[in-house]
Symmetry: C2
Subunit: 418 residues, 2 copies
C-alpha cells in the first residue's frame, strides 16, 4: 500500500477511536442524568421535610435516599471505568477535575443526610451527645445544588470535548435540557419558600423572574439543537392545563404579598404542580440520553463500515510494477494516482466540514464559558467565593435587566480596571 | 485516599500525557521545518535550472536533491513514530489526513525530478524513448509549492491541537514564521520570473504586492506570539543594508517595464538577495523549533514535579478514622476537608485559566480556518479545484484591495446565495 493511504486509514481509525470514547462518555452522561434527577427529588423532599419540621415526607425522604445511594454506586462505577483509559481520554484533565469535585461533594453527602435525619431522631429517640445541628432548609438545598452543579459541569465537559458534530449537537441539547430542568427545580424550591412566607417580596420576585428566564433560555437552546421527534416529545409533555396552572401560581406568588393573601397551603399546591412538571421533563430527558447513546452507536457502526469499505478498496490496488522505487507514485499509473489523490482530498474535506459544523455547535457552549471566565476574574480580583461571584453577576444582571452572559461579557471587557 | 483526590491525580496525569504528546509532535514539526527549508531551496534551484535551460545550478540541484532525499527519510521515519500511538493522538484524524496528503505528494516527487533532470540528460545522453516531457518552470514550482503547503498544513494541525497555552503560543509563532518564509520563497520565484521578462506587468505587480503583504501579516503574528530573545534574533537578522537592497530591487521590478529597462542579470541579483534573506530566516526558524522543543520538555518536567509534590502531600493524609463509612468526608475532619476542596478547586481554576488563554492564542489560527472554509464552499458550489478557489479569493482580494481573510468572511456570509 502506498504510504499515504496507510495514513488515510489511520485517520479514519482515529475518528473511530474518538467516537468510541464519545459512546463511553455518553453512557456515563446517561447515568449522571438519572442520578441528577434522583438528587433533585431528594433535595425537594428534604426541603419540605426540613421546612415542615419533619411532619411531611419523612418516609419519602428515606426511600429517596435509598434510591440515590443505589444510583451513586452506579455513578462511581462509571467514573472508575473512565479512569482505566485515563491518558487516552480527550479533554481528560478537565473532565477528571470536574469528577474530583463531584466525588468530594458526594463524600460530604452522608454527613448532611445524618444531620437532616437528626430532625426526627431528636424527637423520637432523644438528643444524642455532640450530634451535629439540623441544617436550615436553605443550607441543605444549597449543598444539594452544589452537587448537582458539579454533575452538570461533568456533562458540560463531555459536550465540550465531542469531536463529532452530530454527537456534539445531541450533547449540547441534553446539557441544556438538564440545566433548564435544574433551573425548574430551583424555581420549585424558591417558590415553595416564597409561598410559605405569604408570597414573594421585590427581591424574591426578581430572583424568581431570573429563574424563569434562565429556564427558557436553556430550553430554547435545547430546541435549537435537538431532533424533530424529541422536540415533539417536549411539546407533548407541556400540557396546556398544567402550563396554565403553573402561570396562575406564579402570578399568585408574585402578587400575594401585595394583596395580603396568606394561604400556606399554596406552598404544597405549588410544590405538587412543579413536581408534576419536572417529572414530565425527566421523561424527555431519558429519551434524550437514550437518543445520544443510539447516535454514538450508529456513528461507530457507520464509521467502521466505511473503514472496511476503504480497506477493501485499497486491497484491490494492483501491486506496484517491478523496478520502480518503493515510494514512487508512477508505480500506480496516473489514473489510479488521481483516484488516490481524490480519496485523500475527500477525507480532508470531510474533516474540514465536520470541524466547521462543530465550531458552530460549540458556539452554543460559549455563553456558559464566558460566565465561568467572568466568575473566575471576580474571584481573583475581588477575593470572592465562586458562589459570591455568581451572585454578584446575577444581581447586576437583575438590576440592569440584562442577561447574565451579557454582564459577564462586560466584566471581561473591563478586566483591566478590576 | 478519598476518591475525589484519586481523580485530581488522574487530571494531572492527563495533562502530562497531553504535554508528552505535544513534545513528540514538536519533534516532528522540527524535522518538518528542516525538510521544508530544503525543499524551498530545491524549488528555487530547480526553477533557475529550468529557466536557464540547464545552464545554471546543475550541480547545486543534484546536491540539493540528495539533501532533500536524506531529510525525506527522516520525515517519513517521524511520521511512522506518530502512527504507533495512532488512537491516542489528539486531533489524530486531521493530522493523519494531512500527512496522507504529504506522503502522496512525496511519492510523486521522484517522477518530477526525473523529468527535470531530463533537461540535461536529453542534451548529454540523447533522447530516451517515451521519456516524460521536461516540465515548464512554473509547473515544477507549483508542484513543490503544493508539497510545502501540505507540510505547513501538518504544522498547522499540530498548532491547532495544542492544549497548553505556552506550547500553543510557540507553535503559532513557528507556524506563522514558516508560512511567512514560504511567502518570501514564493516572492523570490515570482520576482525572478518577472525580472527575466523585463519587470512586472500590472497583474504581476498586484500579485507581488499580495505576497509582500501576506509575508508581513505572518511575521506580525509571529512577533505577537514569540518570546523576547527570538524577537531580538528576528530583528538582528534583518540587516539594514539587505533590507534596503530588497526594497530597491522590488521598486525596480515594479517600474522596470514602464521605464523600458531590460536587464536580465537583475534576475540573478534578485535571486541572490532573496536567498540571503531566506537563509537568514532559516537561522531564526531553527531557534524557534529548538525553543518549542525546550518549552515542551520543561513543561513536562514541571508538571511531573507538581504531580510528585501532590502525591507526596496526599500520602501524608491521615488514614480515615475507623468506623466511618469509606466514602464519608467526615473521616478526615472539617479542616482537612477544606484544604482538600481547596486543591480540587485550584486544579479546576488552573485548567479554566489555561483554557481561556488557549482560546485567545487559537484565535490567531482562525484567519486561516476562515480562508479554508471559504475555499471549501467555493469548491463545492462552483465546482472549482482547491487552487482555482484560492486564486478566486486572492483575485477578489486584490481587486477590492482587501485582505484574503476579509473576502473569505464575505464569501461565508453570502453562503446562501452561492
Amino acid at each position: 500500500m502506498p504510504s499515504g493511504l496507510h495514513f488515510l486509514v489511520a485517520s479514519r481509525q482515529c475518528e473511530i477511536g474518538e467516537l468510541e470514547q464519545l459512546a463511553h462518555t455518553s453512557a456515563v452522561v446517561d447515568v449522571i442524568s438519572q442520578f441528577t434527577h434522583a438528587l433533585q427529588r431528594e433535595r425537594g423532599i428534604s426541603n419540605v421535610f426540613l421546612a415542615s419540621r419533619g411532619r411531611q415526607f419523612a418516609a419519602q425522604r428515606e426511600a429517596q435516599v435509598q434510591q440515590c445511594a443505589a444510583l451513586e454506586l452506579q455513578v462511581r462505577a462509571c467514573f472508575d471505568t473512565l479512569d482505566t483509559e485515563a491518558t487516552r481520554l480527550r479533554n481528560g484533565a478537565r473532565l477528571f477535575s470536574r469528577i474530583a469535585f463531584v466525588l468530594h461533594a458526594l463524600d460530604a453527602l452522608p454527613a448532611l443526610r445524618e444531620r437532616i435525619a437528626g430532625l426526627t431522631a431528636d424527637a423520637s429517640q432523644g438528643a444524642v451527645a455532640a450530634r451535629a445541628p439540623v441544617p436550615a432548609p436553605q443550607e441543605a438545598v444549597a449543598a444539594y445544588s452544589r452537587l448537582v452543579a458539579g454533575l452538570l459541569a461533568v456533562v458540560f465537559e463531555a459536550a465540550d470535548s465531542a469531536t463529532d458534530p452530530t454527537v456534539s449537537r445531541a450533547l449540547v441539547a441534553l446539557f441544556n435540557f438538564m440545566q433548564g430542568k435544574e433551573f425548574a427545580g430551583q424555581e420549585r424550591a424558591h417558590g415553595a419558600a416564597a409561598f410559605a412566607l405569604g408570597g414573594a417580596d421585590a427581591a424574591q420576585q426578581q430572583q424568581w423572574q431570573h429563574l424563569i428566564d434562565s429556564q427558557e433560555r436553556c430550553f430554547q437552546v435545547f430546541m435549537d439543537f435537538t431532533q424533530a421527534p424529541l422536540l415533539a416529545a417536549w411539546q407533548a409533555c407541556q400540557l396546556p392545563a398544567q402550563r396554565t396552572e403553573l402561570e396562575r401560581l406564579r402570578r399568585i406568588g408574585y402578587t400575594a404579598r401585595a394583596q395580603g393573601l396568606r394561604d400556606p397551603s399554596l406552598s404544597s399546591t405549588w410544590y405538587a404542580c412543579c413536581t408534576l412538571r419536572i417529572d414530565a421533563m425527566r421523561g424527555v430527558e431519558e429519551r434524550l440520553a437514550a437518543d445520544l447513546r443510539a447516535i454514538c452507536e450508529q456513528k461507530v457502526t457507520e464509521e467502521r463500515a466505511a473503514l472496511r469499505d476503504q480497506q477493501l478498496l485499497l486491497a484491490q490496488l494492483p501491486a506496484p510494477s517491478a523496478g520502480t522505487p518503493p515510494h514512487s507514485a508512477t508505480a500506480y499509473g496516473p489514473q489510479l494516482e488521481r483516484s488516490i489523490l481524490g480519496l485523500v482530498q475527500e477525507q480532508a474535506q470531510r474533516l474540514q466540514a465536520m470541524g466547521d459544523e462543530l465550531d458552530t455547535v460549540r458556539a452554543a457552549l460559549t455563553e456558559r464559558k464566558v460566565v465561568e471566565r467572568a466568575k473566575g476574574l471576580l474571584m481573583a480580583t475581588r477575593k470572592l467565593s465562586e458562589e459570591e461571584a455568581f451572585k454578584m453577576l446575577r444581581k447586576t444582571a437583575m438590576n440592569q435587566n440584562r442577561k447574565i452572559a451579557e454582564v459577564a461579557e462586560s466584566v471581561l471587557a473591563m478586566a483591566e480596571f478590576l
